[in-house]
């Protein structure tokens, strides 16, 4: 048994090390709100008057042709890209003009998986996972931190030996998973995934989908999911936002989107690949999650 004095010491240690700027959960309706966003590189305008609201607890799929600015949109939301105009609020707080390393109270509550993985190449996979833990919750015991890193690695679908490997020793798909493990390190309320299933084998991709869905349901995550993977869209997304012509042209469940008559949307969801994906999704009875978005939360 531990006595009073020891208890006091432990508490003091924890209070000494803990950061003071950590805040509790967000309980507003829209963790991400974007209004009138404009982004450009030189004379090339990427977004013009783009608006989007992401609901709490949903998985929002973001689709659009290559180069339509999905990754740029994600970078603007997380404050890596300075927009020309517009407002972006994450957890109700403005992120524009805030330096990327400030405002940790917001940063500790989201996880980001970059399109290229973006692992720290001089650290092992497990050490990569530990970085955000160390950064935001330094009071956590090293022992626990190592354990967390280990189970996160396995939970993301990597073999356990991968924990001690360096990114350069991993395959492309394994790097994706290691990136996911790092994005999930803090059990963030908000998860940004940029093409998480690209480069994964179909079985791995399906596992990835069900992991994302399960975490969303149990932890109440909100997920901003950029994808080209139609199976992912049908299987786990509550709503889908379509980016074209420099703005979000439609947001809604897939059945809702099918009712619009924008040619790109029609081509996208009525193409042969999309039909096949829908058929598998219906056959597997996984279409449920899509319907739920339609009648429940919408």
């Amino acid at each position: 048994m531990i006595d009073e004095i020891e208890n006091e010491e432990l508490l003091e240690d924890v209070l000494d090390e803990a950061r003071s700027d950590v805040v509790g959960h967000f309980d507003g309706e829209y963790p991400i709100e974007i209004e009138g966003l404009r982004n450009s590189f030189g004379s090339q305008v990427i977004h013009e008057n783009l608006s989007l609201k992401v609901r709490r607890g949903e998985i929002l799929g973001v689709v659009g042709g290559s180069g339509t600015g999905k990754s740029v949109l994600m970078r603007s939301i997380i404050g890596l890209q300075m927009p020309d105009e517009g407002e972006i609020r994450v957890f109700g707080k403005n992120t524009i003009g805030v330096m990327p390393d400030e405002e940790s109270s917001v940063r500790s509550r989201w996880g980001v998986l970059f399109q290229g993985g973006a692992l720290f190449s001089t650290l092992t996979v497990a050490e990569n996972v530990e970085v955000p833990l160390k950064q935001f919750f330094p009071e956590i015991d090293a022992e626990l931190r190592h354990e967390i890193a280990r189970y996160k690695v396995v939970m993301s679908g990597l073999p356990e030996e991968a924990a001690a490997k360096y990114p350069s020793e991993l395959s492309g798909g394994m790097r994706k998973r290691a990136g996911l493990a790092r994005a999930l390190a803090l059990d963030p309320e908000l998860l940004f995934l940029d093409e998480p299933t690209a480069g994964l084998d179909p079985i791995g991709a399906a596992m990835f989908d069900s992991l994302t869905r399960e975490l969303t349901d149990t932890l109440g995550l909100t997920v901003f999911l950029i994808t080209h993977d139609l199976d992912t869209l049908y299987a786990i997304c509550d709503r889908v936002a379509v980016i074209a012509d420099r703005e979000v042209i439609a947001v809604g469940t897939i059945p809702e989107l099918l009712k619009t008559d924008h040619p790109w949307i029609q081509e996208y969801f009525n193409g042969p690949r999309s039909r096949a994906a829908r058929a598998t999704s219906e056959a597997a009875g996984r279409g449920k999650s899509v319907d739920k978005g339609a009648d429940g939360k919408a």
């Binding site: 190449s121 350069s168 149990t218």
Partner: protein, 369 residues
């Protein structure tokens, strides 16, 4: 202020129950975790009925403690059950660092590896040199294939853009030599020999040597870092598969640029050093600027110019070879790019100075002393 999760212990009929309280989240778990780890008594039961929100990190903490004590978990909410199940499925004891030997064997192991790596390094460098010569031969046989644009670009980077800094540095060095030389020579009443000193030293040694050091720092490092980064991002592999030989496309232009630019930069540097010397002589020694310059023509033998011009391309070659070779050796991660870049500069400058000593002996033996 955060509400740290905590616990109380209840004992009933010899059964120890740990009753957890509060939210079990990453932001609130640290204290509970430390306390549980400090506990030594066996526990039979963990009561979760008084806990609030939970995430996987909270679930892991509970699971680990339960598992270590063989305790049963009661009162878990549905959500907690799902998370406990998830972390149980993901439990792992694999090491998270690459295996490491204990200190003494590791030192021996490292030493052995370094010796072997040195030997291999020498062989690899010879191999690289051979490959570069073959690539040069290929360029000469198929001049059409040569990348003139890349060469011109490197001329610009290695030569033209170095003019400012090399010029300033040489001017200042010229001032220092003339000023310090005059201070010593004045003791013999031989101040006028400051001109010989500045002129000969600039052409034979300083112009080329200082330029070589500057080029190693500017361009040798750039070669290594650039080629190294291209290796990391698989650009070099991509070039090979498309049928572009990286040696011809990347390395030959860089080496040629360094070899051709070094004599020009070296000569330019010597001129500016003399101008610096003339400037300070005018100011402090009473030797008029133009007199200084015209005396230079009389006191500096023409072979001093040749000594400088012969050494310069060799130094350029050494620096470019070191930079390109180290760049091609990069493997694994960004740290290696840094290490290799450092090596490229250090090796380049070191080799230049060693060779300079050889040249000094050689030229005095052939009567160009």
């Amino acid at each position: 202020m955060r509400d740290w999760a905590d616990f109380t212990v209840e004992e009933a009929g010899g059964r120890m129950t740990v009753v957890l309280e509060g939210a079990l989240l990453v932001s609130t778990i640290a204290l509970l975790d430390r306390k549980l780890r400090a506990m030594t008594d066996p526990v039979q039961e963990i009561d979760m009925s008084r806990t609030g929100d939970i995430d996987t990190i909270g679930a892991w903490t509970v699971y680990r403690f339960a598992n270590e004590n063989n305790a049963v978990i009661v009162g878990a909410s549905e959500q907690a059950d799902i998370l406990l199940q998830a972390v149980r499925d993901s439990a792992s004891t694999a090491p998270i660092e690459p295996p490491r030997l204990p200190v003494i064997p590791r030192v021996l192991d490292d030493t052995g590896r370094k010796v072997v790596a040195f030997g291999q390094g020498v062989l690899r460098f010879l191999g690289f040199l051979g490959a570069v010569i073959v690539a040069l031969g290929a360029v000469i046989r198929h001049p059409r294939r040569f990348r003139y644009r890349a060469l011109v670009r490197q001329f610009d980077l290695v030569g033209v853009s170095a003019l400012g800094i090399v010029g300033l540095m040489s001017f200042l060095i010229g001032i220092v030599i003339a000023q310090q030389g005059a201070a010593q020579l004045r003791q013999f009443g031989a101040e006028i020999y400051t001109i010989n000193l500045t002129g000969r030293l600039s052409f034979r040694e300083l112009g080329v040597l200082m330029t070589a050091i500057m080029v190693a720092g500017r361009s040798g490092s750039a070669f290594a870092a650039q080629i190294g980064t291209m290796k990391l991002t698989e650009e070099i592999d991509a070039m090979r598969t498309i049928g572009v030989a990286p040696l011809e496309a990347l390395i030959v232009p860089r080496i040629l640029a360094a070899v051709l630019m070094m004599p020009l930069l070296g000569f330019y540097s010597a001129l500016l050093a003399i101008v610096g010397g003339a400037f300070i002589a005018d100011l402090t020694l009473g030797i008029p600027f133009m007199t200084f310059l015209s005396r230079i023509q009389e006191v500096v033998p023409i072979h001093d110019l040749w000594v400088g011009l012969v050494k310069a391309p060799v130094f350029g070659l050494i620096i470019a070879l070191a930079g390109c070779y180290q760049g091609m050796q990069v493997q694994g991660n960004s740290e290696d790019v840094g290490l290799r870049t450092t090596k490229a500069v250090v090796q380049g400058i070191f080799m230049v100075i060693v060779l300079d000593a050889f040249f000094a002996v050689f030229f005095s033996e052939v009567g160009w002393g």
